[in-house]
Symmetry: C2
Subunit: 310 residues, 2 copies
């Protein structure tokens, strides 16, 4: 077994359009890299973090990259020690599952260094603990796609029921991260406690269509089904230019899109790389007109989850 390992784990889009709280997917890039060394002494230490502009804690109990590992080692009563270097290669607080990528990268690396005794399904609850640290809730809609790759449905939390959904081969994702801040708690508080039954029915019809479209490689059905009548109309107001940017991407040929996680990033899906790039340009233009800078990521869907890269 190696003494050290370098692992990449991907950014993820949660709250995929109509699939609010239940559907997420992983992108090929960006993502985080961790380098984990076994060490002689017990316990976890974080040696270094780059790319976070000093925003993340080096205290292992306060950083998702290490907290999920601590929970994991504690649960299985393992006393191996590890030293972690974390390279954040994606923006924090952007709605792209930054904490999930770190948490999954760390856990996966440690499991590899131990000889892979645990399955991804067994690692998942500990990655979710990382989310509990990062945002107060042990939600799975970023960590599950980051861990399993592709599209993942979180059907239920009690009991936890996580289902991989087929990813059509030609699907490309465009993400724009506009340089504005959306607080997750604002994104939560803007949602009503109750919704109209008739809207809920439209939503679950679309969720059913989206899953059917993904599972049958039916790009047009995916596009038609990516309509969120409940969450997006309310959260859109937190992202200036959202509606216009999304429409511009659709006009450029994107199948559909929405807010990534709780924003501010916006994602669209397209059925080829060229269209995905055009969608990105179109969205960038809209935000520029509002004097909002934005970073664009165009990539395929990550189908493998975390990968050993060194």
């Amino acid at each position: 077994m190696p003494e050290s390992i370098k692992v990449f784990a991907p950014a993820t889009v949660a709250n995929v359009s109509c699939g609010y709280d239940v559907l997420g997917f992983a992108v090929a890039h960006p993502g985080d890299e961790v380098i984990v060394h076994k060490k002689a002494a017990k316990g976890i230490t974080i040696r270094k973090i780059t790319g976070d502009e000093g925003r993340l804690s080096l205290d292992p109990a306060k950083n998702t990259v290490s907290f999920s590992i601590l929970k994991f080692l504690e649960h299985y009563r393992l006393d191996t020690g590890f030293e972690i270097t974390l390279h954040k290669k994606m923006p924090l607080g952007s709605g792209l599952g930054s904490s999930a990528a770190s948490s999954v990268a760390g856990l996966f690396a440690v499991n590899e260094l131990l000889g892979s005794p645990f399955s991804k399904m067994e690692l998942l609850p500990f990655a979710m603990e990382g989310e509990r640290l990062a945002c107060g809730t042990a939600h799975a809609d970023n960590v599950a796609p980051a861990l399993f790759g592709g599209f993942v449905l979180i059907r239920s939390y009690d009991p936890l029921d996580v289902i991989k959904i087929n990813t059509p081969s030609k699907l490309f994702c465009t993400i724009i991260h506009p340089q504005i801040e959306v607080e997750t708690k604002d994104a939560r508080s803007i949602l009503p406690r109750q919704v109209l039954l008739k809207d809920a029915i439209v939503q679950w019809g679309n969720v059913a269509g989206l899953v059917a479209g993904l599972m049958s490689d039916n790009y047009e059905l995916i596009g038609r089904s990516m309509r969120d009548v409940i969450v997006e109309p309310r959260r859109a107001m937190l992202i200036p230019g959202f509606e216009k940017a999304k429409q511009a991407a659709l006009d450029a040929g994107a199948l559909g899109g929405g807010i990534s996680g709780s924003g501010p990033s916006v994602f669209t899906l397209s059925k080829d790389e060229h269209t995905a790039k055009e969608a990105g340009k179109a969205m960038l233009k809209v935000f520029k007109q509002l004097n909002i800078a934005g970073e664009i990521y165009v990539s395929g869907i990550n189908k493998a989850g975390p990968q050993v890269v060194g």
Copy 2:
């Protein structure tokens, strides 16, 4: 082209558990039979109806079997005349799509007699007109599965978007029609205008799981996903013994179940015929204890829609 034809169209289960208003399927039996003759004179006449205990009208404008044909002939300005004999071979007002079966059987027969110029998708809106006559709304969740067979998702009405969903090969359906009356308008009025967002999320997670289960022949996932937290808990009170009967069927090995349409029929799905029969016996026993007689139907899923039988 033949001068007369005999067509069978199947009963259907709409509001499939969590898929309220969007998901339906067709069963192999029971169903309706129509015999349609071309006639020299223009217009439609209903020659005879059997099996309806005199409850259905012989006036072509007041019976779904002929009303959908009238709308169809009117739309395409066709002046061929037809004479219809309708054999109702399923109970009326039972929540099994009786009007849809008649409407689809009639339309399909006429299209066949005309040399099949129209596709099923083109026939669908006229079958929906039959539903408008029968219950005031041109809903598609019975006529679409009756016409296409198998499981059908009605993703949207405007524009109409109807998607065939894969049917796992071993799926069997048990239906019990208890001898009680549930008025569709009561079943409607018992539903709230608003629902909790958290319940709606559970529901669309389950709808996604159900579609994923159907499309991947994953019987356990189908079973786990058949949980309706919104409509069933409210409508259950209209059907004495519902909860107990459903639980008895699950205990007998059924994957899941629910209210068929707006009731009073109750359906369950099982992964083999033997289990489906046992589920039926178990439900019958529960209703018997309440002094409610019930008729049991066990069959596979109808995958073809209407069939020419003579």
